[in-house]
Symmetry: C2
Subunit: 495 residues, 2 copies
């Protein structure tokens, strides 16, 4: 019997092959960050480049264009139609970038990222700069190819890889109220107005490790379909049936590992909750990086920093770290505003200002308004303006603190704050449906949260565009109101 | 400027790409055995099949035949000429196996191996059999394709993948004196004539882990270019710049982990000692599986079980495991003959008899003289004949004990005993050159061993065929004399 849509079916098999190679690339990248000894780095970069080169060849296959056209004329259901759209977008992005540039990008970025792991620790900006100049040059080259003939600018083209349907101009509009109101909110809420911690000065890493595993289990992370390991910069990798999350342990700051574990669990639940029938197909992938962040930040900021969840967390801290922490003190500690210099440890109110700084810098870098060499100066000026912090001479916890730029991920940062914004909208909608949410969480029943997210976000994967997905889930367009209301409610009274 | 050998240079680049994909496949396989959660297994099998399918496509590329012919007419040095021969062999093997069979083999073998990890523990032969029948069917299919038009039989064709230049008939000749003399040697030397152990009844795994790391370091394993992890069946994987060895820990039997660590270190030193200029090329690979085993068994049996090395090992056991073991007792324990049922824990004198049993069974399986269902009966009969052990009803420590057949590695086992034989020859030659070997080892100086192996074996990679390599190293043809002399000397007096 002839299938109803032969062209589409052939494409689905083709993209399944692409997914299998990406599985290989994802595991190589995870291994590189968690397991690989230093001597493996050169050969690994070449192996990853080869696998990604094969992916690129499959996407750039000249046969694909007529097959996509033929499938567009077939009788497809809505999911298949959306899947075809995803194939088309991946194909378009691939053919805009020459294979040679794909290979060069992988090598250049891996070399920069690898060096950064030592250079950051050594506060060594001068050592980092040569490799970083190459990363910037490759990213500009890439942006030039991606934006050729498109309506947006070079930076828009890079950003669209993470946030399809969004532009730098739209982000500027969404972020403007944050730039307007948050510096003042942070100033008013800043320590010492909030409670200081009663955490012990030092927590042995094995205890933190056991605690983080238990927190991940509490958050429903499925260890039968994933792992929790350690890396210099926490991330979520792997594939839907085998999600690899990482954290990092600092004996002097157990909350860093706890918060990052909670954050990555939000990412992991999304990936573990994607519809199995669509694993390996474009429509079965997470919607966008902003939506991914809305899940991690939803769990970290909206769920885990609620007083009710702190009531679950405090006994675990007592059990594993021997802390006499009561829930109210823990909550006060988790929601304190310090305005520090490190993004991943920043309080929730300062965080968007860190993003705005990076958004401005990477936009200027890619548009050619500044050079790689100018990064520290623009960093220091922005930190002074937005967060009133003097970062001069501190690269380690300044412009070298993030892994993103080292591996050429320009255009990613705005997604963090889009995610925080969307998370506030999602949880506002969730609370409208579940008036008893806090009491159920306090009783240890997290199912209302996870069931709601599974229904409205995870199971929908990339079936809808981002705006439609959020309108279906919340009844509203994406905007900063719920987010600002949430921040004002949590931090505004502290002034 | 035109290169002196354009066809050869193009082929070298082509095989470097193949090596990069094999790097990916090696790391996926290592991860599967050491890190992967159960939920990852289906998608992982498909990902590995896809990567190996790409390797196969690159080897089966129709353009390769004329390019190999063109390179054969170019002005090449000896290494390049040997490299071209390696390319030709890989190409020949690949085109004999249809791509469909390559993909099916990977899926079927991965499924069987994955199930085996539980089934072995549960002594579940019936559960294992259905997947194993498929593995046998695929292996026979493969043997049929490989042997079509060749002089040898089906089993010879599978064996040649591991031991080029050898046949089942030659192994039968090499093994005949062992079958003739070892059963009696084992009977005479068997416990309780030798010293019982004074090892503690239980050794915590973390202490064993620390000890094994120190032993690996003592044996020169380079942790900057490799890792030591854990898996159900110890193995050496990875690539020359990043060698992954594994062991397994049994709290009741610390010597199992120690011995397997020493064994895998022998493999690892070989790989870490391959000539860097030829990494990624066929001529830069280990010569054969038998030569690989000659390195692991050389370190394990010839070096580490000498009284001199036991003098280095005993203080480490005392330090990490708190054992009051003196070197002489440790040596007596390591060289005791028990005639047990488990190959990987077998004493050195019984070991070749385990191999002979497997050699007979797999030869009969592949030649169609028996079926998968008949395996336990032939196993039990062979164990009774060769080792005087009743294994009926015990699959766990009987015919399910090894990983090899679960993943279709038929034809591999003879290489173990070829390796032991060659190891004895190599160390006899090494001792002829270094009359003071034992006193230098006793002083903690292992350099005579490693320098000699680096010169005569590691640095030569696949430059020569196996027979030439051993003749160059020892001045003699491969044969059982040094091996039998070694076994008689170590175990013969004990009767």
């Amino acid at each position: 019997m002839m299938p109803r849509h032969p062209a589409y079916s052939g494409l689905a098999a083709h993209f399944e092959r692409i997914h299998r190679l990406r599985h290989a690339a994802a595991m190589l990248a995870w291994d590189r960050a968690t397991m690989m000894p230093p001597g493996g780095s050169g050969a690994r970069a070449r192996a990853e480049a080869e696998v990604l080169g094969q992916v690129h060849a499959l996407l750039a296959d000249p046969d694909l264009a007529p097959r996509l056209d033929a499938a567009a004329g077939e009788d497809l259901d809505d999911w298949q139609r959306a899947n075809l759209g995803g194939m088309q977008r991946q194909r378009d992005e691939a053919v805009r970038i020459p294979a040679e540039l794909v290979a060069r990008r992988t090598l250049v970025n891996a070399a920069c990222e690898h060096g950064w792991r030592q250079q950051r620790a050594a506060n060594d900006w001068a050592g980092f700069l040569p490799a970083f100049r190459e990363v910037v040059a490759v990213a500009r080259d890439e942006a030039r190819h991606l934006s050729a003939g498109a309506t947006g600018g070079a930076y828009d083209a890079l950003m669209a890889r993470y946030e399809p349907g969004f532009s730098a101009a739209r982000f500027e509009t969404l972020f403007a109220p944050l730039v307007d109101r948050l510096p003042d909110l942070v100033r008013r809420a800043r320590l010492p107005a909030r409670a200081a911690s009663t955490l012990p000065a030092s927590c042995p890493v094995p205890r933190q490790r056991a605690l983080c595993r238990e927190i991940a289990a509490l958050l429903g992370f499925d260890f039968g379909r994933g792992r929790l390991d350690e890396s210099a910069h926490p991330f979520t990798g792997g594939v839907p049936g085998d999600v690899r999350i990482t954290t990092r342990f600092d004996p002097a700051d157990p909350l860093a590992a706890i918060n990052s574990t909670i954050h990555e669990c939000g990412h992991a639940r999304y990936v573990q909750g994607l519809p199995e029938a669509w694993h390996g197909q474009p429509v079965g992938e997470p919607r966008s990086f902003g939506i991914h962040e809305s899940q991690s930040l939803g769990i970290e900021m909206q769920l885990a920093r609620s007083p009710a969840f702190c009531g679950l967390l405090a006994p675990l801290l007592a059990q594993h770290l021997g802390m006499p922490e009561d829930p109210a003190t823990l909550h006060a500690h988790l929601t304190r505003v310090e305005g520090g210099r490190i993004r991943v440890r920043a309080d929730e109110a300062s965080y968007p200002l860190h993003v705005v700084l990076r958004f401005r810098i990477e936009r200027a870098l890619i548009e050619g308004e500044i050079e790689a060499d100018d990064l520290p100066a623009m960093w220091d000026a922005g930190m002074a303006e937005l967060l009133d912090i003097d970062t001069r001479g501190d690269y380690r916890d300044g412009c070298l603190q993030d892994i993103h730029w080292t591996k050429g991920a320009f255009g990613y940062f705005p997604s963090y704050t889009l995610g925080a914004m969307v998370a506030a909208q999602l949880f506002a909608a969730l609370r409208r449906e579940h008036a008893d949410l806090d009491s159920r969480v306090a009783d240890g029943d997290l199912s209302p949260v996870f069931d709601w997210l599974a229904t409205h976000i995870w199971s929908r994967a990339s079936r809808f565009d981002t705006d439609t997905l959020i309108r279906l889930a919340t009844g509203q367009a994406i905007g900063p109101d719920d987010y600002l209301r949430h921040l004002e409610r949590r931090y505004g009274e502290a002034g």
